[in-house]
């Protein structure tokens, strides 16, 4: 505004003088650089933690296809329906028939639904990191006040939260249904706590692995296949060899083999902590020295994947 007025006056002055004589170079003192109103940002600087939170929120919504096209919402919600339907059916049956125990332990639900959870993860993890690599937006993120740690932490917590919601919701459905069916409150609440604890461990381990794998490829399709392969191939291999060991009466070896895949690790952990039952051959749960290795390997593997993920983004260029 102010600068407009200024130019207006100057123009008027010049017009006055024009008829008198030819415009002279003598007007040079009037020449000046106009202030056309460029302004510095005067608002509040929201800072690093705000940027980190925005990135977290954006990634979390993206995992379920919110804020993306309708097509991208189909698969996440389809998987969510698949993972929740058995819980709903169990609840419906329990309420109508009136049995006094749920057909499945809370802590085992995530293990049982692993294939579907793995697919959701394979869809969500590459979407979180591969597109940034493909369109080279990573350097743009790092030109903001966030650091490498913020980026990795935001993506990792977003994927973990998405997984906790994904696997925790059916567990909650089971719990609500159990209370509706008038099952004992204390026992069910205890089961719910166990189930949610397993959900968190499951989510943290799987998110770290999947994000690490996905962060190495800018191509989404390849990322999906790679995440699935990393999750399922060790699982099938470990389980098949476990059966061989079990058949030969070598239970200790069978338990130790469970340490070699994320799926069997989680299954073993819930067996030794809560339910005393697993999908291992003979439904055995790990015990003794091997049992102690399960939590250690889970924590170690998660930490290792996080560290490698941080290392991956050391070079900001790609």
């Amino acid at each position: 505004m102010q600068s407009d007025l200024g130019t207006g006056k100057a123009g008027a002055a010049r017009a006055d003088r024009a008829p008198g004589g030819a415009p002279e170079r003598a007007q040079a003192p009037d020449a000046r650089i106009m202030d056309i109103g460029y302004r510095a940002y005067g608002g509040e600087r929201l800072g690093r933690s705000y940027a980190r939170r925005s990135l977290f929120e954006h990634s979390l919504r993206g995992a379920y296809g919110l804020g993306r096209s309708a097509r991208s919402k189909v698969l996440p919600f389809l998987f969510f329906a698949i993972v929740a339907t058995p819980a709903l059916v169990m609840v419906a049956v329990s309420v109508t028939v009136g049995i006094d125990e749920l057909p499945i332990d809370y802590a085992r639900y995530a293990v049982w639904m692993q294939p579907v959870i793995g697919l959701f993860l394979a869809l969500a993890a590459p979407h979180m990191v591969s597109l940034d690599l493909r369109f080279r937006t990573v350097p743009l993120y790092f030109s903001r006040p966030i650091e490498r740690l913020d980026y990795v932490a935001a993506k990792l917590t977003a994927l973990t939260t998405a997984l906790i919601i994904f696997t925790g919701a059916p567990v909650l459905i089971l719990y609500i249904g159990a209370l509706l069916a008038k099952m004992p409150f204390g026992e069910q609440t205890r089961g719910l706590a166990e189930g949610l604890a397993m959900t968190v461990v499951f989510a943290a381990l799987h998110a770290a692995i999947a994000l690490l794998v996905a962060s190495f490829t800018p191509r989404r399709g390849f990322g999906v296949a790679a995440v699935i392969a990393v999750l399922t191939v060790p699982y099938f291999a470990a389980t098949a060899v476990q059966f061989v060991a079990y058949d030969q009466g070598n239970d200790d070896l069978a338990m130790a083999l469970g340490l070699f895949s994320p799926g069997t690790l989680i299954d073993g952990l819930q067996g030794l902590l809560f339910t005393d039952e697993t999908d291992f051959p003979g439904n055995l749960a790990p015990d003794g020295a091997i049992a102690a290795a399960y939590p250690l390997v889970i924590v170690g593997l998660t930490a290792l994947c996080c560290a490698l993920l941080l290392r991956r983004y050391r070079k900001a260029g790609i």
């Binding site: 579907v116 394979a122 699935i228 098949a240 059966f243 061989v244």
Partner: protein, 265 residues
């Protein structure tokens, strides 16, 4: 499709070639060569190589630790080779034969050539089948021989099942590659959710799985005591395999003929 219009030609212009020279009816060598290069190039080959390598490693370890054992052979071949390795390699090879081309739009250059689209599909199918068989049936046979020395014909039985399943998987996943951009995910949904999860919950779902159809052939080849069981009989298995393969190939050809190339975001 046909470029031969039947308008009455005026003067005796040089006799226009009645038709473009007929290309091969099933297999087009150039298309095949390009597909093969796309499949085995880049990092895809890594997944393809890793799985058989893991199978052979496990087999060698078990053999050296415990000696030849038919039950171990049946468990490893049935539980790992046929249940995990064949579908995964089938997904990678089947969708990889056509999916990326449609995805990045370079399929236009292929479609603009005077090659019938059914020929393109059958060529890609043959290549995908060949790759899948090479990376599944052969390692299965070798692993079976390592594990149990092919006693009770277990190794041959599972290798045959893997070979037959390779054909059907390739055809079905090739079809998915032409139908959807999310072909890899859809293929994995079928392999993991349908065959593994629903198969273990709903017995009926098992009868509709390529793995079981393949097993019906293994059941017939192996000795009766080998413990290979399938949900479907031999005749039903063969019929279903044929129907699935032929149907999927035919429909994939149709899809390719009607392919719209409008770019979508």
């Amino acid at each position: 499709m046909s470029s031969t219009s039947t308008s009455p030609a005026p003067a005796p212009v040089p006799p226009a070639p009645a038709r473009a020279p007929r290309g091969p009816a099933v297999y087009h060598p150039t298309v095949g060569r390009l597909t093969l290069r796309a499949l085995l190039g880049r990092r895809r080959a890594l997944i393809l190589m890793a799985l058989p390598a893991l199978l052979l490693l496990i087999s060698v370890l078990i053999r050296t630790q415990t000696g030849a054992d038919d039950r171990a052979a049946a468990e490893i071949l049935g539980g790992f080779a046929l249940a995990a390795m064949v579908p995964l390699i089938g997904v990678v090879a089947g969708t990889g034969a056509i999916g990326p081309e449609i995805d990045d739009g370079s399929v236009v250059y292929l479609l603009s050539k005077p090659v019938k689209r059914h020929v393109i599909i059958t060529t890609k199918l043959l290549v995908a089948v060949g790759v899948t068989m090479l990376f599944t049936a052969l390692p299965t046979l070798v692993a079976g021989v390592i594990l149990g020395g092919n006693s009770q014909r277990i190794a041959v039985a599972y290798a045959a099942a893997a070979a037959v399943a390779s054909i059907a998987y390739s055809a079905v996943f090739l079809l998915m590659g032409t139908v959807s951009r999310n072909a890899v995910v859809l293929g994995l949904v079928y392999a993991l959710v349908w065959e593994a999860l629903f198969g273990s919950l709903v017995p009926g779902a098992r009868a509709l799985s390529i793995q079981q159809w393949g097993l019906s052939i293994a059941e017939r080849i192996a000795a009766p005591g080998a413990g290979i069981e399938s949900e479907v009989g031999l005749a039903a298995g063969i019929i279903l395999l044929t129907v699935a393969t032929v149907g999927a190939t035919w429909y994939a050809g149709r899809r390719l003929r009607a392919l719209t190339l409008a770019g979508e975001a």
